[in-house]
Symmetry: C2
Subunit: 430 residues, 2 copies
């Protein structure tokens, strides 16, 4: 029977069986990783980095096949840029793996320890999460970054990259597996889903009780599909609709500098600011300077009526602007009645990613930090600091915007669970 003659439910069963088979091998490998020493896991990543550097020419050749095919398929230029590897980008992947090895062992850490009056000694110890599914777009570097973070924390990774990067990602995954083998660890701790069929993603999302957690890394439509369909736990990574609120007590210079940096340093990252809210009390005095600096830096401005009256060259914002992640040199600006209105706006339109108040007023700063329910809340700093490396937490797989398990930067130390270890000397319960 050929694939085309199968019914939908047969195909779904085939995909479920394929994912189950992958998970079976992942689980066996993960149990070995969970018991392996930190040094051995470090060796696996170090070996993989070495293999990646040594295979630069072959990686480039495979990547050229992907890029050519993507071009033939009429894929957009920005997308092809993210797909395209260079010597520098390959070196960055290898160096990234080596960086992961410098953060201390994420598993076996004593998170807390106490003794009960009856003498029981209780410790909470970090453990691996298990088998982690990573679903991502055609960005080959995610293959290496995600696998490395999973492995160092004793997890197995099942990777499902975008079909446009299939040659590159499959080869990179094989190098990660070879690194494991060289360190004496089971190579199945890193596996790629061996089909481009979108239904395979559905099978991953349905693999409750098999895959322990799924991490979607990609755009809005991918994340929404994952969150809608998943029966497996998901680390939610929504888009970053990050706000700057310029309070009535903002320092003008800080407001200008932070606004330009938060928007324009890199417009394509999830921590880039997308909306400025400004207190009506200071909008006439401060907004023209802020807007001018942004425009000078090449940013287009979409404002509400009041903003448009204060900023020459601004175009009117429509309702959709307040919930748009531009990832581009565009920012929306709204004049609000004060901090409460700003907090309401963020609760309505934000994505619980990163939001910042600019103020010299300590009381309002604390109100904002407490009442804005986002993974990261800031005062007087650029939202572009929303990054695991900038937090001193090391490389990350993304910024989680949900409230379950991991929130904020998700690095190796967040890809863990824990267990309670209880040491007694014969205690029984009365």
């Amino acid at each position: 029977m050929t694939e085309m003659s199968k019914t939908g439910s047969q195909a779904a069963n085939d995909h479920a069986a394929m994912i189950s088979a992958l998970v079976h091998d992942s689980r066996a490998a993960q149990l070995v990783l969970a018991q392996s020493s930190y040094e051995v896991r470090i060796a696996a990543l170090t070996q993989a980095a070495k293999l990646i550097r040594g295979a630069t020419d072959e990686i480039l050749a495979r990547n050229a096949l992907d890029v050519t095919r993507a071009g033939e398929n009429g894929i957009a230029a920005a997308f092809i840029d993210r797909l395209t590897l260079t010597d520098d980008r390959i070196e960055a992947m290898a160096a990234g793996l080596e960086d992961i090895t410098g953060l201390g062992d994420p598993i076996g850490r004593e998170l807390a320890r106490w003794t009960r009056p009856n003498g029981l000694d209780i410790a909470r110890i970090s453990t691996p999460l298990g088998v982690i599914g990573v679903i991502y777009e055609s960005r080959p570097n995610v293959t290496v970054d995600a696998a490395g973070l999973c492995l160092i924390a004793g997890n197995a990774a099942i990777l499902r990259g975008g079909s446009d990067s299939r040659e590159t990602s499959a080869f990179l995954a094989s190098l990660m597996a070879d690194g494991l083998t060289r360190a004496g660890l089971p190579p199945h701790a890193v596996q790629m889903v061996p089909t481009d069929d979108r239904a395979a993603v559905g099978a991953m999302l349905a693999a409750s009780g098999e895959i322990d957690v799924i991490i979607p890394r990609g755009g809005k439509s991918l994340v929404e599909r994952v969150q809608t369909e998943a029966r497996v736990p998901v680390f939610a990574h929504l888009e970053g609709i990050c706000h700057l609120f310029v309070d009535a007590a903002a320092d003008p210079d800080k407001a200008v500098e932070i606004a330009v940096n938060a928007k324009m340093r890199r417009t394509g990252i999830c921590g880039a600011a997308e909306t400025i809210l400004i207190d009506e009390a200071v909008a006439p005095a401060l907004l023209p300077a802020i807007a001018h600096a942004l425009q000078q830096a090449g940013c287009a401005i979409r404002g509400d009526d009041t903003s448009c009256g204060l900023v020459s060259g601004a175009t009117p914002a429509v309702e959709a602007d307040w919930s748009t992640e531009y990832l581009d040199s565009i920012i929306s600006i709204r004049v609000v009645a004060g901090i409460d209105a700003a907090i309401d706006h963020i609760a309505t339109y934000g994505s619980s990613h990163t939001d910042c108040i600019i103020t010299e007023d300590a009381t309002r700063a604390e109100q904002f930090l407490q009442q804005v329910d986002s993974a990261i809340v800031m005062v007087n700093a650029s939202t572009q600091f929303a990054d695991g490396g900038e937090f001193g937490m090391g490389a990350e797989i993304g910024i989680a915007t949900g409230r379950m398990h991991a929130r904020g930067p998700v690095g190796a130390h967040q890809l863990t669970s824990f267990k309670y270890v209880v040491r007694g000397n014969g205690q029984t319960r009365p």
Copy 2:
């Protein structure tokens, strides 16, 4: 149009709309709770405890209606016992609420804090989880226990109790809501699902993006349904198939005392031991005494061939015994080739709840603690200590057996998330 004439999908839509309406009110109430002071949340629980004590007669009267109806419906006696309230049980509910107020504020706690080289001050601060759905069986006390734990941590609770307890649970929930009102908090932070229709549970499980997390509290079939159907994150609470492994270096007296306590102190709790594994090297010497003590305490023994040869009165275990949570005066016993075989058995048949090794050998103790992947692993202590109160963590909603978010005892401090609070003085990212 009457309910009976509706199609299944219309009914499903009605239930989804009903849950959405509940969540809408829950969310609004939760946002107020999240900003409330600890003292006000304490007042809400203290007031509710007072209301419960003051309404003892009415609670008993409503409970009698439930018990009578359950009897007419031919419900089993053990089930009716759990449904039936008494003066003492009502007092225990009220006292339980008051106990919850003595554990410190679960939210707003500084979990970690550090300063970056650029001067950014970063803190991880505990926050509420949000809107928590609790699905449970006809045990009215869960209404009060679960609502209390959710509320003290700033969460809203949507409760769905078993239909046999509907009169009692609805009244208790109304008292919890009255306690909130008396403290000046919004009563909708505690709501009962206002229908016994099982399809309403399906609507809760499908309420992704609305209910933040679902906690199933009940037997195997409930938990399995929840884990199979849920598109909302779930705190998994599997059954407790808890093991005692009697190692070759076990102290004989400890082995006997712990075995009897772990099995027989209370057979109906999830931390009760269900299987004893014993090293073949010491089985002839130790097993007869262990088994005899259990039998003297009223416990029936189901053994593998070797055990049956060593224990008079043992009946042969079948394969299903190794994965059965008896919750009764029955225990299964298996002689194993050593610690590795014991760990394999637990990995195969256990439920990742609580498992214990009895040994005086420190190396094997550590091997067991490290390699058994359960929420709680113990050495030389009764598995009946698997309890939030015994851990010094206060009242709990259950013992989570999954690896996501909360694992082990889930009390008020586990019903939280966190956020990163970043304080700067104008930093921009280079």
